[in-house]
Every structure is written in C-alpha cells, then in structure tokens.
C-alpha cells in the first residue's frame, strides 16, 4: 500500500495533545480507523474509537471509511455539548 497525504484537524483535547490544530501527515492508512489507531499511539490518548467521532471532508463518517489521497480528516474527541 502506498502512503496517502492527509490533512488532519484536531479539536479540543486532541488539539491540546497534538499541540496544533492541523497538520499534514503521510501515512499508510487504509481507513479512518487505521488513522485513529496510529494517532492514538502517537499522541498517547486513552479514548477508544466508540467515544470519538470522525469526519472526512466535512462529512461525519465511521471508522471503516476508506481514505483517499488528499482527504481532510477531522478528529473529534468525546463531545460534551449542552
């Protein structure tokens, strides 16, 4: 599998951990789930997938979503509206 160039945007707690709100990453990641696992290891957070959300190109999706070169992935830590 070849690497994909992705833009990852971080919010709230994840932004604090990443130390940035956005970065370019080149990754051999087939799905949003793969990307999540790679970032979870790199940023050392505990949250399991089911407590987080992900959007690709501004549309909410699931952890089986196949990533394409050039995608912008939004990584949402556990939400707490209201």
């Amino acid at each position: 599998m070849t690497e994909k160039n992705l833009t990852v945007r971080y919010f709230a707690y994840f932004r604090d951990l990443a130390g940035t709100s956005e970065e370019r990453v080149a990754l051999v990641a087939a799905t949003t789930g793969d990307l999540f696992d790679a970032l979870r290891e790199r940023l050392s957070f505990d949250e399991p997938r089911q407590h987080c959300k992900v959007a690709v190109n501004d549309v909410l999706t699931d952890w089986q979503h196949s990533l394409a070169d050039g995608d912008t992935v939004l990584l949402f830590p556990p939400v707490a509206g209201g």
Binding site: F11, A12, Y13, D16, E47, H51, K53, A55, D58, V59, L60, L74, F76, P77, P78, V79, A80, G81, G82
Partner: protein, 148 residues
C-alpha cells in the same frame, strides 16, 4: 431558516420562542441548559464551548428532522452557545411546539439527548482552584482531562 444555530452571544429564550409560535400548536416544551457552579465535586467559575460549526449545524438539523419524523410535533428549534460563558448563562436552548403536549415532551428530550451526544461541541471548565479541564462526554468513562 435553519432549525439549529450556534451563537457567540447570549441566548434569549423569549426571542427563541418566537421561532415556534404557531396558532395550531397549543403545547410548547422547552429545555434550557444553564452553566452550573459545580461538576463532579469541583467548583466551576466559568467555561468555554468549542464548536465545529459546519458539522454541528448539519448534524443538528438532522436531529431535528428525525424528531419531526418520529413525533407528532409542529415545530422545533435549537440554539447552542460557543465561546466564553459565565455561571448561570444559557448554554443550550431547545423548543418544541405541538398540538398535544406528550409528543412535545418526547421530542424535546430526544433533541437535547442527541444534541449532547452527536454534535461536535466540547466544554472546557475553569475551576476555582485555577485548574481547567475538558469535560468528558455523557456516558463515557467518568474521568476528565484536567490540566494545570
């Protein structure tokens, strides 16, 4: 008009209710979420909401469309704050008008339950002791991320 909006200024319930006035609907139920002075035993002095607005709005409109579909209601509307809030400020408002009150209660509760769990909104609390922390989601394990 969109059925959900994110605001960076104070929410005014009487203005919001105007979105829902309908001479066919006799019953109106609203939910207001106020900033409390405590959370899990810690004294809160103020908080900030961070919102990713494009998806908060599209997902919020989806939630309200689901409520309109599931319950016999006439109208529903929601606004959520972003930015800095003080104690007692209104963080979220949901209003539902219906011919009969049962569906209005059910739909209002459905909307706030889903707004709290599905919208990309995060709350950072600032505590009396100077700490602050991102608040965990409802239903997630009960551990916050306190930072000095």
């Amino acid at each position: 008009m969109s059925s959900l909006a994110i605001r960076d200024i104070a929410l005014d319930p009487s203005r919001l209710t105007q979105h829902l006035v309908d001479s066919h609907c006799g019953g109106f139920v609203s939910f207001e979420g106020w900033v409390r002075n405590h959370n899990e035993g810690k004294a809160v002095v103020r908080l900030e909401y961070e919102v990713y607005t494009p998806i908060a709005v599209s997902e919020g409109e989806q939630i309200i469309a689901e409520a309109m579909d599931r319950f016999e209601i006439g109208r529903a509307y929601c606004e959520h704050r972003e930015g800095e809030l003080a104690l007692g400020d209104l963080a979220v408002w949901v209003g539902v008008a219906a011919a009969h009150r049962g569906p209005a209660f059910d739909a209002c509760q459905y909307i706030i339950d889903n707004v709290k769990t599905r919208l990309p909104i995060w709350k950072k609390e600032h505590y009396e002791n100077g700490d602050s922390g991102w608040v965990n989601c409802e239903g997630c394990a009960a551990h916050g991320h306190a930072h000095g």
